[in-house]
């Protein structure tokens, strides 16, 4: 958006989304800690599972050739062309297209991160620690971006999506079942067993789908 519609509107949109995200986190954070832990784990586990399985499903379909790999270069070209040809409407001195697209993009991606931080933090009793983990990840991504200085197309996006899907599905399975009243053998250590199981079945699905891949895919 900055490159095509101007940085002022794009950065204002991103900043407005960050303020909205901060307000959502500030409102939801304390509210979450007052919910009984089993109810919280059941709901959080269910949501993590739904999110995780969406990620994992797409990553497995892409890895096995049943869905096209995301081509960042062509996505960038398509989005740039769309931004250049979109009409110009000014509101409050800002290019409204640039503002709203930046706002929506940052808010949507940020909501997912905020949800993961809040739920992991509240179910394990430390939202600040989970927030610190997310902040460390942001720093790591920025440092990696500066060091690599490469386009997004060089990032192994599907591998990352696969890993995130496996992790979210693992924690979702563990907490969801715990919230439903399950006692895991070995307590928290059972997460490692669930992780191994989800990873193995996901790799097995990739292998099985690869073997049946259509010639044209």
């Amino acid at each position: 958006m900055g490159l095509t519609r101007g940085w002022r509107s794009a950065l204002t949109g991103a900043a407005a989304a960050l303020v909205a995200l901060a307000a959502i986190v500030a409102a939801l954070g304390p509210a979450l800690t007052s919910i009984p832990i089993d109810v919280l784990r059941l709901v959080v586990g269910g949501l993590l599972l739904v999110f995780g399985l969406q990620w994992l499903r797409k990553a497995i379909l892409r890895a096995s050739g049943w869905r096209a790999q995301r081509d960042e270069d062509s996505v960038f070209a398509r989005e740039t062309a769309a931004a250049r040809t979109a009409g110009k409407e000014e509101k409050a001195g800002l290019d409204w297209y640039g503002f709203t697209v930046s706002f929506k993009g940052v808010l949507l991606e940020g909501l997912e991160v905020a949800f993961i931080v809040l739920t992991f933090g509240s179910t394990q009793g430390s939202i600040p620690l989970a927030a610190a983990g997310a902040a460390a990840a942001v720093v790591l991504v920025v440092v990696a971006g500066v060091v690599v200085r490469g386009p997004l197309s060089r990032v192994p996006e599907n591998t990352l999506a696969f890993a995130v899907g496996v992790m979210l599905t693992t924690f979702g399975t563990f907490w969801g079942a715990e919230g439903a009243g399950v006692d895991w053998p070995g307590g928290d250590a059972a997460i490692l067993g669930v992780l191994a199981f989800i990873l193995l079945i996901s790799l097995a699905f990739v292998g099985a789908l690869q073997a049946r891949r259509p010639v044209t895919a």
Partner: protein, 69 residues
């Protein structure tokens, strides 16, 4: 009413995503796990198997829909 429709649509897309059956399967699996946990039978094994089944069925459906095109 349009903003309400858009609001509901946004949350539906955000939470449920591409395949509503996955979300429905997870709700069903959690309910069955809760029922199993009230019995004397150990319930810990059920959720991982249910997750594998929900994922597998969703993948098969997606692959079939691609193959049909």
């Amino acid at each position: 009413m349009k903003w309400l429709q858009r609001f509901v649509r946004f949350w539906w897309d955000f939470v449920v995503g591409d395949d509503w059956r996955v979300a429905a399967g997870i709700v069903l699996a959690l309910g069955l796990t809760a029922l199993l946990a009230t019995t004397d039978v150990p319930a810990w094994w059920f959720m991982p198997l249910a997750v594998a089944a929900v994922l597998g069925l969703s993948l098969v459906r997606a692959a079939r829909s691609v193959a049909r095109r």
